[in-house]
């Protein structure tokens, strides 16, 4: 059987805990090498990249091969709203930034990735 591939979509901050638990359970079930995992966040949920506790959990998962992606539009909106400005040069090293999160969700599914909305 070919390797599983999935993109998780997080767009609301309270869903992060569920998403990270889902990813953890998935790796436990099929093994780190058994699945390619992307976690794409857009909307207000990108604020989690400024949350030390969550970043630690993400870092541990990234060390196991999970890729985290943030929507640049959403980072800009978060800053413009006066809530939190995350300097893109200051982002956690494990984090990738894409111009538009929705485009990434579409492209990956077109490549054969499954979609899960926690």
């Amino acid at each position: 059987m070919s390797r599983l591939r999935v993109i998780f979509h997080v767009n609301e901050t309270p869903k992060w805990d569920v998403a990270l638990a889902n990813v953890t359970n998935l790796l436990k079930d099929v093994g780190d090498a058994g699945v390619e995992v992307l976690v794409l966040s857009n909307g207000p949920s990108v604020e989690a990249y400024g949350d030390e506790g969550k970043v630690k959990v993400m870092e541990a998962l990234a060390a196991r091969g999970v890729r985290f992606l943030a929507c640049r539009n959403s980072l800009k909106n978060l800053c413009a709203s006066g809530n939190l400005c995350i300097d893109e040069n200051n982002l956690p090293a494990f984090l990738g930034v894409v111009p538009a999160g929705v485009t990434e969700l579409i492209r990956r599914q077109a490549e054969g990735f499954a979609y899960i909305k926690p």
Copy 2:
């Protein structure tokens, strides 16, 4: 690269703003001609077709090629619940009606459309 295709699924009224912003960002990112966009609403969220402000935003997106689809079951349920009766002959011209929204979501994914739940 072939044209991207996506169906957005809206079933709760408060998700409309996110969905419409997602679609706007998507068109900005890949261009109006770069993606085929369907927005399917079912459940109580179909009440948005009676909301002038939202309809205006949808109209502008429809003029750029986005197709909006409403679930007929949901329009009937909305009316039966006493909340709002939208006469199907009176719907905004840009809006299509499908017998069952869930069937549309399945058929489109079978055709290769990506699925996004804002």
Copy 3:
């Protein structure tokens, strides 16, 4: 046209009513034989298998061919949280248990099932 296939994803208890209504509408629209339906629940929503009213609705749908699947991790977590312990040997006969719900969601999409999050 080949038979439609879909996996519904339920992870929050309040979403069960929408999910079961969606499945009912789907079968009404395309006929029981026109679609292969899986309903996968994980997270706290697995508590619904201890809810007599919901189980009755599920049983009726299962008799029409719908397959219900629960995440074993989630059943264990529900019990560990002190909320409800559902003995796996005591589950409704129509219910299947999978080791990890997210893996099932990925595998099924890889097989060509559409994904719907009610």
